[in-house]
């Protein structure tokens, strides 16, 4: 190699030279990579920190059968505290169940209307309204349950207490529906237009196109959206705390007051001493909640991804 080939021609910089820009570029690459993996670090961090705080309880006072099968949640009992979350699970399940009975048909219907029937201005307006509804904070929903739904239920159904499964279920349904509608609408929009055009060319009406072509093609996306909605309802805290009545109870009818897993943590964590068995038991409920929502989200992701591959 002669000197003349090493010398850059004209004012061209040496291409093999590592200048400042090269180092900045590398530095940025590492920084954005670290930020990129922060989501994974945080998810693991949430699990680790919640587990650490609840670990003492898991080692000492935890008994699988008592925790999951006893309906007595009496952590403040001085003689013999019991930590059974059966009634709390029943509370969460009944409220989430009723909410989904309301939210699933309505959000599927709305999503089909917005994605397939509505056009132009109507469509845009509906989309914006639904997005705004999804933004209402949960503490406001709780307040609505407390101050508007509560007297309404007492009047209409002639029951003594209006803070019950019905109240929380309706509130939670109204909360979850906009989110589910958005996700389901995205799933319908993801179906390629050529599917619709092919069906229309065969002489199918709009509804036949939707029923025979679009819905089967969007099936997995819709299922994923519904599951994510279930996850949201399951983990909802403030609205459920304020609208259920917060009474430990295995419900017999929708007019019974119940108490949810999430609400129990929110109501009791402030009153417990750090490190006490009660405090640790609340963190153990947290681990349980985290695990369930993780499984729900994972399943939703796998279902949606399944369709993309095929």
């Amino acid at each position: 190699m002669t000197d003349s080939t090493r010398q850059p021609a004209g004012n061209m910089p040496d291409i093999n030279q590592r200048n400042l820009d090269w180092y900045i570029d590398k530095g940025v690459q590492y920084f954005v990579f670290l930020s990129g993996i922060s989501a994974i670090v945080l998810i693991i961090g949430i699990f680790v920190f919640v587990t650490i705080e609840g670990f003492g309880f898991l080692l000492e006072d935890f008994s699988f059968s008592e925790f999951f099968l006893s309906q007595w949640w009496e952590p403040t009992d001085e003689d013999e505290p019991t930590y059974g979350i059966l009634a709390l699970m029943a509370g969460t399940a009944s409220v989430t169940g009723l909410a989904m009975l309301i939210a699933i048909p309505f959000s599927l219907g709305s999503a089909i209307y917005v994605a397939e029937f509505a056009t132009g201005k109507t469509r845009e307006t509906l989309k914006v309204l639904i997005e705004l509804l999804a933004a209402i904070p949960s503490v406001v929903w709780g307040f609505i349950g407390l101050s508007i739904m509560n007297p309404l239920i007492i009047d209409v159904f002639d029951v003594p207490v209006g803070l019950n499964i019905l109240n929380a279920g309706v509130i939670l349904g109204l909360m979850a529906a906009p989110i589910m509608t958005s996700i389901c609408e995205d799933a319908l929009k993801a179906v390629p237009d050529r599917y619709r055009e092919a069906a229309e060319a065969m002489g199918a009406t709009r509804w036949q196109v939707i029923y025979k072509t679009v819905l089967p093609a969007a099936k997995n996306g819709l299922l994923g959206g519904v599951l994510l909605g279930v996850g949201r309802g399951f983990g909802e805290t403030m609205a459920v705390l304020m609208a259920t009545g917060h009474a430990i109870n295995i419900p017999g009818s929708i007019f019974d007051s119940v108490r949810a897993l999430t609400a129990t943590i929110a109501a009791e964590l402030g009153e417990t001493a750090v490190g006490s068995p009660h405090y640790q038991a609340l963190f153990t409920i947290g681990i349980f909640l985290f695990t369930i929502t993780f499984i729900i989200n994972l399943t939703a992701d796998l279902i949606v991804r399944g369709i993309r591959k095929s």
């Binding site: 998810i43 919640v50 639904i130 209402i136 904070p137 949960s138 985290f290």
Partner: protein, 298 residues
């Protein structure tokens, strides 16, 4: 031999056709009504909030301290507290969130690891808010020793709402056509120079809509701040990130459930201020997004 009538009858509507058309109308009306029924009750509820809450709202209500065991007076400390919480949360989550989105959009290869990151983001958004609160207590309040403070509460909020920034930023970065980047690379620019000079300037407004959306989300959250930094009642304003503070969302919870003898209209007023703040921010974000979509040059 076919008569003109016979030919015409081939194009007439058959019973089956008519039935299909009737079905179409039927389902269109049914689903339209469902969409209406989803929105209508909420509009009625919001109107009730406005009607019952607006008499309370005044400049004094916004600018005075709560007095007489929180049964009278205004919401000033709670309002300022929410501004603190949201501001500090943004300082944490926006740089990290935008950088994470840059990684996912500009650097990340399409492999299992990137899928794991995406899954983690979905999960971060899906973890119940009360579990985020437990994480905040365990990690920020106790482990990192922030104590119950604005810093701990904002860090918790930042972790919880970071997916909003990441998803919005990633979308607006991916909306920049690949040809823009390729043109820049061909000029000999490094990856970072391309991102800084070409990709970010073309997507900055989209990122902004995400940030505004996060402000809206963050200001309404209650459960994550309850045990990490927001207090029921503090008569003084916070002076540093290590102080506790009041928060608007928690204040609504407190005056509607924890304080006896609150006049009926007061919590309506608090709820109205909170929801106006949240919906206003959200509307700004949506309006900005629509304006940008109309203005797009490519």
């Amino acid at each position: 031999m076919s008569t003109p009538e016979a030919v015409a009858s081939q194009f007439l509507e058959t019973d089956l056709n008519a039935k299909a058309k009737r079905n179409e109308k039927l389902f269109q009306i049914l689903f339209g009504m469902m969409a209406g029924l989803l929105i209508l009750p909420v509009l009625i509820i919001l109107t009730t909030l406005v009607v019952k809450g607006s008499p309370v709202i005044s400049l004094d209500f916004l600018l005075q301290d709560p007095t007489n065991g929180m049964t009278e007076g205004g919401i000033f400390p709670a309002l300022i507290g929410t501004v603190w919480l949201v501001g500090v949360a943004l300082l944490i989550s926006v740089p990290v969130g935008v950088a994470a989105a840059i990684y996912l959009s500009e650097y990340a290869p399409d492999n299992w690891f990137t899928r794991a990151i995406n899954l983690a983001i979905i999960n971060l958004a899906g973890v119940p808010s009360i579990v985020h609160a437990l994480f905040g207590v365990g990690a920020f309040v106790i482990f990192f020793g922030f104590g119950t403070s604005i810093l701990a509460a904002s860090a918790t909020l930042a972790v919880m709402t970071m997916p909003v920034v990441i998803v919005a930023t990633r979308e607006s970065l991916q909306a920049v056509p690949p040809a823009f980047r390729e043109a820049c690379w061909n000029m000999g620019a490094t990856r970072w120079q391309t991102i800084r000079r070409v990709v970010l300037p073309n997507s900055i407004s989209g990122i902004l809509t995400g940030v505004i959306l996060e402000v809206s989300r963050t200001s309404g959250e209650t459960a994550p701040v309850m045990f990490t930094g927001a207090a029921f009642f503090i008569p003084v304003l916070p002076e540093s990130v290590f102080d506790q503070t009041m928060a608007l969302s928690l204040h609504l919870f407190v005056v509607s459930t924890q304080v006896p003898n609150v006049p009926e209209a007061l919590p309506y007023g608090v709820a109205l201020v909170l929801i106006s703040l949240v919906l206003l921010m959200n509307s700004v974000s949506i309006a900005l997004r629509m304006y940008l979509r109309g203005k797009k040059k490519w």
